[in-house]
Symmetry: C2
Subunit: 229 residues, 2 copies
C-alpha cells in the first residue's frame, strides 16, 4: 500500500473535513468520478481528465490508493494490464459527488460547452433523472460514445446506466463524443440539428424521445446567488 502523503491538513473531527483530507486535493475527486462507472486504465483516465499531467495522475492514484478509496488490479496474464478501480467505499462516494454536481449546476455561471467525459455524462444522467417523469416507461438503450459503450435502462421509475453492450436495444445513440449527447439531452437540440457533430440515432424513436426528456435541468439561482422565484 502506498504511503499517505499529507495526512494533517485540517485538525478537525468533522466528517466533511475528513473527506477533504482524503479526496480534497486537486484532481482527486474527478479521478474518483472517472472511476465511478467502472475500472479504467491510466491512459483512459488521462483521456477523461483534460489537462492532468502524468505526474499528478500518478501521485493522486497513489494517494487515493493509500487511503483505500482506489485499488489497483492486475488483469490476468494474457493481457496483463493494470486497472484502477474503486473500493466498495470508493463507490459509496457517488451520492456525495452527485450532490456536489447538482449544486453547482444550479448556478448561472456553469458553462456546459466545455469538454465532457463519457463517465461524467453518465453520472449527470444518474444525477438529473426525475423518477416522476418515468412513470409507465420501460426501455433499454445503447450509447456508443467514441469507443465507450453504455447501457441505459428505465423501468419501475428507476434509471440505471452502466458500461456494457446489449444485443437488442430499443434505441441506439452513436456519437463521437459526450458533449454532442449532452447538447441533445440538456440543450434540447433536436437530433437532426446534430448531424454535423456526427451523432446518429436509430431504433424506437418514441422510446428515444422519452429517454431524452427524463433529465430536467434545475438552474434556480441567479448570478448573485439569490433564489429565482
Amino acid at each position: 500500500m502506498a504511503t499517505q502523503k499529507h495526512g494533517k491538513w485540517y485538525d478537525d473531527a468533522c466528517g466533511t473535513a475528513f473527506a477533504l483530507e482524503l479526496i480534497g486535493e486537486r484532481w482527486s475527486l474527478l479521478i474518483v468520478r472517472e472511476l465511478m462507472l467502472g475500472g479504467r486504465r491510466f491512459g483512459e483516465l488521462r483521456g477523461g481528465l483534460p489537462g492532468i499531467s502524468a505526474k499528478v495522475l500518478t501521485e493522486r492514484l497513489e494517494s487515493l490508493e493509500g487511503v483505500s478509496v482506489v485499488k489497483r488490479r492486475q488483469l490476468p496474464p494474457p493481457a496483463s494490464v493494470q486497472v484502477y478501480e474503486l473500493t466498495d467505499w470508493g463507490y459509496a462516494a457517488e451520492t456525495a459527488i452527485k450532490e456536489l454536481g447538482r449544486w453547482a449546476a444550479q448556478s448561472s455561471g456553469h458553462d456546459p460547452t466545455l469538454p465532457l467525459s463519457p463517465a461524467s455524462l453518465m453520472l449527470s444522467f444518474r444525477t438529473m433523472f426525475a423518477p416522476t417523469l418515468a412513470e409507465g416507461l420501460a426501455f433499454a438503450g445503447l450509447l456508443r460514445i467514441g469507443t465507450d459503450r453504455f447501457v441505459v435502462r428505465v423501468a419501475n421509475e428507476a434509471f440505471t446506466a452502466t458500461r456494457g453492450e446489449i444485443d437488442d436495444p430499443d434505441f441506439t445513440i452513436v456519437s463521437p463524443d459526450a458533449p454532442s449527447i449532452a447538447a441533445m439531452v440538456y440543450g434540447k437540440v433536436p437530433a437532426e440539428a446534430l448531424g454535423a457533430t456526427g451523432l446518429t440515432t436509430s431504433g424506437d424513436a418514441q422510446a428515444l424521445q422519452s429517454f431524452l426528456n427524463l433529465f430536467p435541468l434545475p438552474k434556480t439561482f441567479d448570478a448573485s446567488g439569490a433564489a429565482t422565484t
Copy 2:
C-alpha cells in the same frame, strides 16, 4: 464584488468539476460549513477553523464572495460590524456538504477525537438524524456550547437545529465545547462520566435521553475500503 482568482483549474463541463472550481480550494468548503448555521464574523470563523491563517481566510472569503457563495453584510451603525453569510445558493450546498461528511464518517480511519466546532456538531446532527427513531417524539432542547446557543427541535419525525435561544426548553445541555457533546451522543458516554469536561444537563431526562439516541453511526467499511457484512 471581489475578483475571482483562478477560474480555470479544470476544463470540464461536469457539474462536479465546476463545484470544485468554486469551493475546491483548501479551506473553502469548511468556511461554507462554518457559515451554514448563520452569518459569522471574521474572528468567529477563525475560531471554528483551527489552523487557518488570517491571510488565507481573507483570500478564501474574497474568492467565495466573487463566485456568489458568500456575501458580506455591514451590520447597522450602532455596532457596525461586518458579517459574512451565505447566499441562498450557498445555503443550498448543505446537502452536498452533509453527504461528503456522511461518506467520510463511514471510514474506519476517521478520528472523532480531534477538535470540533459547534457548527460542525450541529451539521453532524442534521446529517445523522434518523427519522424512523423519532416516531412519536416531540421536544425542544437548548444547547449552550461555550458562547454559542442552539435550539434543537424534534417533531413529526423531523429535526431542526438553529442558532438561537428559547425560554422553556424541555432540556438544556451546557458544555464548554462541542467535542464533549459529541462524545455523549456518538461515543455513548453517559452524561455523568462527562462531569470532568464541564458538561452539565438539566430538564426532562426522558426527552434528553430520546434526543441522544436519534443519531446512529453508520461505519460500514473496513480499513481496506471493503464493505463490512
